[in-house]
Amino acid sequence: MLYTYIPLTVLLLPLAASAVQIFAGRRLPRGGDWVSTGAILAGFALSLPLLAGLLAKGDPHFRHEASVQWIAFGDVTVTMGILVDNLTAFMLTLVTGIAACVHFFSVYYMKGDKNYHRYFGYLSFFCFSMLGIVIADNFLMIFMFWELVGFSSYALIGFWFEREAAAEAQKKAFVVNRIGDLGFLVGLMIVFSRTGDFRLTMVFEAASAGAFEGQFLPGISILTALGIAFFLGAMGKSAQFPLHVWLPDAMEGPTPVSSLIHAATMVAAGVFFTARIFPLLTPGALLFVTLVGALTAFMAATIALVQRDIKRVLAYSTVSQLGYMMLGMGCGGYTAGLTHLFTHAFFKCLLFLCAGSVIHALGTQDLFRMGGLRKKMPITFATMLLGTLAITGVPLFSGFVSKDAILTEALARYLENPGSLRLLIFTAGMLTAVLTAFYMFRLLFLAFFGKPRERTLYDHAHEAPPVATVPLAVLALFTLGFFWSGTVDIPLPGHGLRVPVVFIPEGWLGNLLSPPALDAFSGGLHGPETPAAVLPHGEGGVGDAHEAAHGIVSTLSLLSTALGFLAAWLCYVKGALPTMVLRKRLHPAVLFLENLWYVERLYQRVFVEGLHRLSAAVFRFDGRIIDGAVNGLAGRSDSLSRFIGVFDNTVIDRAVNLAGEASQNFGHRLSRLQSGKIQNYIFLGLLALCCYVLIGVM
């Protein structure tokens, strides 16, 4: 009972708040920010007990569903419903909690904006849409809320739509998302045509009963195609290569928006969805997922190296980390990927909010105009430092736990099936870790250390008020590693040292989030084409490969983080490695990175200009051929009319005149009979009489 109504309430509260804000927000005192914030806080307050209850239950396969019929036509019914399991509860709490922090921060950041009320309306609407994705129990409903989330993102990116850049960015985001959604739609179609039902559990059961048998292309089964199709949607939403181009441009929106939507929640929807459809992913699909993730992670990290804008660095960082999550999930690391999702949500949101604090204080986003803010904005600095430590994977922090898990899975898969592809994936992951450390510390050093580069800006800088710093602190709390793993992991050569923390159960997250495929749906779901084939021994700490990998990974990740930190420190603090010289030396590489791997250029050239040229060609065609046809037709009908006119004048008029003249002539001749002379008349009468008689006689 409660499992139905709590999620429902949590879902609908922000919707109500959004409606109030949009329609009546202007008239409310303080622009109504308390309406939205209150709603999301209430949502958080309701989600916590739900999560606590599930934690207490400790059942990894808990599942509660409730649905109502929505549309029924013929023998097809579409339902709307709620699915509550451990993952749902986590996501609910995560989304409402982080959204609450962002709401508070926005009160500070958006102060004085003339559309204050509208901002909160959109923000609440976004929360509603995201929560909809989280609690939905069928694909169609997920898709609906998927689109709503896309719309909310569009509205919030282009919040300051008077700026050209913002308007362009919002369009780009929506369109690129849409391309991914095409894949989602294909997936929907496959699901519906094979099973006739959209509900997740039903689809999984149907899959295990063999509903998706058959080959799509030689070597690719229908089920693989389905997985890839759905993953395409996730790629759009989570900004994976090649659909990543919208996320950096989305930084045109207000920074709290960037932190909530484009760091913590919306982009995570793709990862969340991948987790939801995990039972359907075949080894082929999983390979695709991990390859895409690896490529994205590496690519984005390289681009982040050369960015000047603080938000851009963080944006590419987000893309990279999302790639990490996909990498993890594609290697069968269901729990690892989700853990990284949660940890990343907290520290990325934190990083963005700190950036927002800095931007609001200084009025610039350019890193090379900042410097030495450590003393002026201590709280911001402290929390940002914690966030940076988390993202770079320093031990004892959250990022280390989740990254460690992902890389362990990657290496374990390689060790089980050695192959150059798997090795490449793992190497990409490690390299990305090095680069992540480098660019994040670069950011920190450039902004907070050294001498201020622009004195005027520096003088005006100030720390944020409590309404902003408290959320920062709250978020920073969750960057601490022990919170997630329940243990304090000290990596030492060998197996490391593991000290359990008293009040947090060890590995609680991993216990609650196990992939649903292996246990819930038995039957035909064990074959070469099933996800189970990827994890022959199940996930998590079982099997030698896993243990061996863990040790290697811990050491290597420590080394990579240290390497990155060192490089950044040398470049930007000590000045021992002059960056200008490096830039000159590696000029072609730098150019390649600064031009974003030329991906955007390519898109612009091929799609945008191509479309323009096509439009121009079609326009010319229309002008020449269609207009020509129309004009020709007009000309022809003109000459036809003229011909008809002439014809009418000559032939018809002549005929008419002829008739007239004929009757005139006839009448004329006939009238000569009437001579006026009586003798003639009498004569004619006699003649007629004779004729009658003669005819009568004959």
Binding site: S671, Q674, S675, G676, K677, I678, Q679, I682, F683, L686
Partner: protein, 101 residues
């Protein structure tokens, strides 16, 4: 043998001559002369019928009437000719074509 036919033949001859005169003559009074011939022919016919049929005398009554009629008619025709002459200044009938269509 003198019979009805003989008298009738005389009548037809007189009729045709009178008709010829009406059709051919130019002077209106000449037409009147032709007209009188025709009347005579008709009267003669009636008298012949009277003589040669059962009802002896009755045909002669008709002849009487014809004589009276012819007299009256000739008077009227002459008056008409005078009137026409006063209007058209001619009594040549081939010049009287004002009703020409």
């Amino acid at each position: 043998m003198i019979g009805l036919e003989s008298y009738l033949l005389i009548g037809t001859a007189l009729f045709c001559f009178g008709m010829f005169g009406i059709l051919t003559r130019r002077n209106a009074i000449s037409i009147l002369l032709g007209f009188e011939l025709i009347m005579n022919a008709a009267g003669l016919n009636f008298a012949a019928f009277a003589h040669f049929s059962d009802k002896t005398i009755h045909g002669q009554v008709f002849t009487l009437f014809i004589i009276a009629l012819a007299a009256a008619e000739s008077v009227v025709i002459l008056a008409l000719i005078i009137a026409v002459y006063q209007k058209m200044r001619t009594i040549h009938v081939d010049e009287m074509d004002s009703l020409k269509g």
